[in-house]
Each structure stands twice: as C-alpha cells, then as structure tokens.
C-alpha cells in the first residue's frame, strides 16, 4: 500500500511539475538540426499551448497554425491543432493525435481538412503509419495516395 501511495505521488508530481516548455524547447532544438523550425507564442498551464505558429522547413514557411495544445499526461498524451494552413492552399480545420499507455506503440490521428477527412495510425515501434483520407474533395491529391477497400491512404515512414 505504501508503495502504491509512493508511485501515485511520484506520477502526480511528474505530471504537475513537468517542465513542458523546456521539453518543447528541446524538441525545437532537435527539429532545428533537421532544418525544421516552429516559431510560436507559448503558454504553459496544465497543457502546453502554442499560438500563432509558423513552421519553417528548409527556411520555407510552409505551414501556419492558429493554435496547438499539447497534453503530456504520461499515461495519456494528446496533441490538438486547429486551423493549419499548408502552403496557403491546404487547410486542416482540426487534427488530433493521441497516445495512450494502453496501446503504447500507436498514435491515433484524426482530423478534418479542405481536401478530406483524415484518419489513421502511426506505429512508433515500426516507425511507419497509414493515414486515410476519406471524402476526398481534391482530385489532384489522389496521385500521391494509394487506394484500398477503406479508401485513399498515405503511407508514413520515418
């Protein structure tokens, strides 16, 4: 019982005292080595909130977002972004990525965009994933996608 109390106290402390902004700065540092930069306003509360962000890839401002909220709760983590504008042409109204300790290797993704509905999973163990784009509204995007019974999809590898 004492051990359980100790674990509970430690985990709660981990969640509450987590230096979210410093972890985010570390992520920024790692991404900058790949020439990816995220410029945004930061607000740290129970969730880490990024506002008015610009994503630079190879010094090109390829994407903008209004708001991204990161909930790093160790057992259950979530990132929620709104109004992402890619290359001034493709708009993602909202997109969520969630990760749970129950399924430790998978990140579930869902969202809505002006080119279709986004749904998929990323396997962090196998370093791959499949993102389905259903209700596709942009036919030009099809040539970059594959198709199966569920619909058009994009294979992710990293």
């Amino acid at each position: 019982m004492k051990i359980l109390t100790a674990i509970a106290g430690f985990l709660l402390g981990l969640i509450i005292f987590m230096p979210k902004d410093n972890i985010y700065f570390k992520i920024q540092e790692i991404l900058s080595k790949e020439n990816i930069y995220i410029n945004s306003d930061i607000k740290n509360s129970l969730a880490l909130e990024l506002k008015n962000g610009t994503v630079f890839v190879n010094k090109m401002d390829l994407a903008y977002f209004d708001r991204c909220e990161i909930y790093p709760y160790i057992f259950w983590n979530k990132i929620e972004c709104n109004n992402i504008n890619i290359a001034n042409q493709y708009k993602i109204t909202n997109i969520n990525g969630s990760y749970s300790i129950i399924n430790p290797f998978k990140i579930k993704i869902s969202g809505n965009s002006n080119f279709g509905k986004i749904e998929g999973e990323i396997n962090i163990f196998d370093k791959n994933g499949r993102i389905y784009i259903t209700k596709l509204t942009n036919s030009l995007i099809k040539r970059y996608l594959k198709k199966d019974k569920k619909g058009y999809y994009y294979d992710v590898k990293f």
């Binding site: 019982m1 004492k2 109390t5 100790a6 674990i7 509970a8 106290g9 430690f10 985990l11 709660l12 402390g13 981990l14 509450i16 005292f17 987590m18 230096p19 902004d21 410093n22 972890i23 985010y24 700065f25 570390k26 920024q28 540092e29 991404l31 900058s32 930069y37 410029n39 930061i42 630079f56 190879n58 010094k59 090109m60 401002d61 390829l62 290359a87 001034n88 042409q89 942009n138 030009l140 995007i141 040539r143 970059y144």
Partner: protein, 247 residues
C-alpha cells in the same frame, strides 16, 4: 497510519519535482526560433519604349502657318547656323538651293532640321521630309530590337499559382548547383506552351538568382505581384532570357 501515507505521497510527489530540477540542467532554457531573412524583390520594369516611339501616332492639331509647295520633295538639309543649303527633288530632278536663294520665285528664308521655309509675296511656304517613311522604318527597327514577350493568360496563371499540385503535375524540377533544372514537362501543358524545355536550367527570375529552396519558395509566394517575368535559363550551355507577360 494516515499521516505516514500522506508523508510518503508528498515525499514521492516532491521527488518528482527534484528529478525534473536535475533534468532541467540538461534542458534548453530558451526557445529555438528561426528569424527569416526578408528579401524584397527589387525588380522594377520601366518601360522606356515611349522614349523611342509611339505605339499609336498622336495626331497633333494642324496649325496652318505656311502653305506647302506641291510636287517638291525635301531630300536633305544642311545648316551650320550662318550658311546652309537644302536638296530638293522636283519632277525627278535634284536641285541644290542655298539659304537666301530663289527657286521658281520662292526665296529660301529658313532651314530647320526637318523642313525648309520659302517666302513669296510675303507668304510662307513649307516643305518637309516624308516623315511617314522615315518613322515606319525607324520604329520597325526599334521594335525588332526589343525581345518578344510571351503572353500568359491571367486566369490560367492564377490557377497554377493557387494550386501547387497542379504545378507538379505538369513540370518536374530538381535543384542543381547553380539553379533548378527542368526534368519533365507535360506535353501541351502551359509550361510546354510558353517555351520551357526539358533540360533548361533556371538561373534567375526577375533578376534574382535561385540559389536555394528558400529563394524558389519566396518567388512562388510572391509570383502574383508581378505582371512580367524575365526568366534567365541555361539551354544547351548558352544563357537565354525568356520574357513573359501576364495578360
């Protein structure tokens, strides 16, 4: 018993804080930002052609100050301020007339750079060079010296500008050392129609070198600011400038 549990809980709770404080030594304290270098396109297209010719001849109001001499053509003038003479053609014959000299009763009283004034019975008579022939040949030569612009329909242009995927569907470009090489052009596409060719290396657009992706992206973003484009390409190891006008 309860107090000891609370104590254990609090101790574990603050242990987590201690763990983080140790970790913080190894964590960055400030965000990593990218400060984009703002490059302005300093491309000014100044049309100097009106200095050389008029696209539509402007009709000047006719002020009849002097009558003309029918049948007499002015062929040449010479005037050094004090003395001068003109050469005229009358019924196929050429005549030299000095300033102050009379010809068929008409006295040459003034020589201008493009005309000559005669006087008879206190009336002035003017003969001029045949301007139409001179101008048409002159302007034709000037027009030929200006490069030909290829016109691009604005609607088509904006369709491509607003759809990056449509661009990549019709043209393939890769970065090489000194520019961007065209690797593929879809037949009958807009890029084919405007005269770009596979193997062309795009070196400059509107005076700006395309050194990296940032330059190319910046150009693409700002493309709708331009009505005219000058694209310097390297084709068959020769540099060539292609001119386009969005109409």
């Amino acid at each position: 018993m309860l107090n000891s549990k609370i104590l254990i809980f609090l101790l574990s709770f603050f242990t987590a804080a201690f763990v983080y404080s140790v970790l913080l030594f190894f964590m960055p304290k400030t965000p990593v930002f990218y400060v984009p270098v703002k490059k302005e396109f300093e491309f000014y297209k100044i049309n100097l052609t009106p200095l050389f010719y008029r696209t539509k001849p402007v009709k000047k109001p006719v002020v009849k100050k002097a009558q003309t001499l029918k049948g007499i053509k002015l062929k040449a003038v010479y005037d050094n301020g004090k003395n001068g003479f003109i050469i005229i053609e009358d019924k196929g014959k050429t005549h030299f007339i000095d300033l102050g000299q009379k010809y068929k009763g008409y006295k040459l009283i003034k020589i201008n750079s493009d005309s000559a004034i005669f006087e008879k019975n206190s009336k002035h008579f003017k003969i001029e060079f045949d301007r139409s022939k001179i101008e048409s040949n002159f302007y034709k030569k000037i027009e030929q010296s200006f490069p030909k612009k290829i016109k691009i329909n604005k609607k088509t242009y904006l369709e491509y500008k607003n759809d990056l995927l449509k661009v990549w569907e019709n043209i393939g470009i890769i970065k090489i050392n000194n520019g961007y090489m065209i690797t593929y052009i879809k037949p009958k596409s807009i890029f084919d129609k405007i005269g770009l060719k596979r193997g062309d290396i795009i070196l400059e657009v509107n005076g700006r070198e395309l050194k990296n992706d940032e330059d190319a992206w910046d150009l693409y973003k700002n493309a709708d600011k331009f009505k005219e484009f000058e694209i310097k390409v390297k084709r068959n190891n020769k540099e060539k400038v292609l001119y386009y006008e969005v109409d």
